[in-house]
């Protein structure tokens, strides 16, 4: 088994239903330096713990949404449409 993910629209599905969009990162300012832009493009926190990340429901409603998942256990703590999860990482249910 891999793990389950809850689509905000369709409910609980197996992870193979979804495409992974990577960790949510902070956009650089409007006119970034070349270095800032490269940092945004390539560098990642790759945290061992709760990670806010993008998912796309490829085999379902075709919506992009966000999840908070613990990368040490693959337990998904929260999901929401963009903007719904707030600015801070939640500590989970």
């Amino acid at each position: 088994m891999s793990f389950l993910l809850t689509c905000p629209h369709c409910g609980v599905r197996e992870v193979a239903d979804f495409a992974f969009g990577g960790e949510v990162s902070v956009r650089p300012r409007e006119t970034p330096t070349f270095r800032e832009l490269s940092r945004y493009n390539y560098f990642r926190r790759n945290v061992a713990g709760v990670q806010r990340e993008w998912w796309y429901h490829r085999s379902g409603c075709r919506t992009w949404f966000q999840a908070e998942r613990d990368t040490r256990t693959n337990v998904v703590l929260r999901v929401g449409l963009p903007g719904e999860l707030g600015a801070e990482l939640g500590v989970g249910p």
Binding site: F20, F43, R44, R45, V47
Partner: protein, 403 residues
């Protein structure tokens, strides 16, 4: 000769940590131990390898042991070729049989496009003196009689990139050989010693915090592969890495059938037969990041389906084990080697699914860097700085699935 019959420890039992070391290597996988060994050869004293689990508990003990050098970029081809040549002499040097068999490596092409890309790769390889050529379906069949090359397969075989010096090795033996060699040269090996943080003063690391106390340190090498980002964060060095699982499995031993390594990128599978008779099979990484080394059922289903297309004879073979290991993926499928913005914190990372073959050359070049303070020419193209400058060394075409 008599050695073989004498039982004894491969390396000394770990003692207490000393107060200070000239070099601390974090990670007791193939890269950390090789670096320690070559540092020992250079006469560097007071070197310690700190490993949070047992020696070889990471990807070093979980990989599918494919060694090859037919990479696409000139920088990559040159670098991996140097490593294969070191592997060819390594059993002699370490006085330990690593069971390296250069049985040949076939990357199958199932489309015109793949044939074109492989023809291009063969040219780049030959320019660097690497034995690599395009072969047609009939030649593939001659090199690998049991392979199903029938035109009514889902993805018929159109030809292959053939790399005669490629092959397989015994991964545990490489780990133990380097560990024993390093130990004999005076390196301290500390299993079950987890690095939990660094002490910094200005742009240097001065101390290494562990679950067994803090030690002062001259230089640090981060050789933690899948865990590189975490050590980087402790040191204050950001990395362009994501961590994913890669899975593999073996069948029960069957009679000798396959004496060449078969890779199919299109079918996401690579296959070899070990000296014990087990078919060793692997696939590609899972797309999502994780630090949890647990496999998936999808992997087994897809992999067995594709393997049976290529080798229908295995229909009744049973799977013995499957497992997962962590892979540190870099954006351009090339490694990240050498210096960082922290003066005395050096790096071997970005190994994705293909780092085992590089252990000897990584060990030698990083040892040189630590010893002389100068970046060896062979690894200069792989500096971390290239990502800030957007100067990638893209091995996407040659490394994404085929280890």
């Amino acid at each position: 000769m008599r050695e073989i019959f004498r039982s004894g420890r491969m390396w000394r039992r770990r003692g207490d940590l000393r107060d200070s070391y000239d070099v601390v290597i974090v990670g007791g996988g193939a890269h950390g131990l090789a670096t320690a060994y070559y540092l020992g050869q250079l006469g560097v004293k007071k070197v310690a390898v700190l490993e949070k689990g047992y020696i070889g508990s990471g990807a070093a003990g979980r990989n599918t042991t494919i060694l090859r050098s037919n990479y696409k970029t000139p920088e990559g081809a040159r670098f991996y070729d140097a490593s294969i040549h070191m592997y060819e002499r390594l059993s002699q040097e370490l006085e330990f049989n690593l069971l390296f068999s250069q049985c040949g490596h076939l990357t199958l092409a199932h489309t015109d496009r793949a044939m074109f890309v492989m023809a291009n790769r063969a040219e780049v390889n030959r320019l660097h003196g690497i034995d690599s050529k395009l072969v047609d379906t009939a030649q593939v069949k001659r090199l690998c009689p049991p392979l199903n090359v029938s035109p009514d397969a889902t993805y018929p075989v159109m030809g292959a990139l053939y790399h005669p010096p490629g092959g397989i090795i015994r991964h545990d033996a490489v780990v133990w050989g380097y560990a024993r060699g390093a130990d004999r040269l005076g390196v301290e090996i500390h299993p079950y010693t987890e690095v939990t943080g660094f002490e910094r003063s200005g742009s240097r690391i001065t101390g290494v915090r562990t679950n067994r106390g803090t030690v002062r340190v001259g230089q640090v090498v981060n050789a933690t592969a899948g865990w590189s980002s975490l050590l980087g964060e402790m040191a204050g060095v950001e990395l362009p890495i994501t961590t994913h699982i890669l899975q593999a499995c073996v069948t029960e031993p069957v009679k000798p059938l396959l004496d060449v390594v078969i890779v199919s990128s299109q079918m996401h599978v690579y296959i070899s037969q070990s000296d014990r008779g087990e078919f060793v099979m692997g696939s590609e990484i899972e797309p999502w990041t994780t630090y949890r080394m647990q496999g998936t059922l999808n992997f087994l289903q897809d992999l067995t389906r594709h393997t049976l297309e290529l080798f229908p004879q295995l229909e009744h073979a049973r799977l013995l084990r499957s497992w997962a290991g962590l892979c540190d993926l870099s954006p351009d499928y090339s490694p990240i080697l050498g210096r960082t913005e922290v003066e005395n914190f050096h790096l071997s990372a970005g190994w994705g699914t293909y780092g085992f073959k590089a252990a000897p050359i990584v060990g030698r070049t990083l040892a040189d860097l630590v010893h002389t303070g100068k970046t060896p020419e062979l690894i200069a193209p792989f500096a971390l700085e290239r990502f800030y400058e957007d100067q990638l060394v893209s091995e996407l075409a040659a490394a994404a699935v085929s280890h």
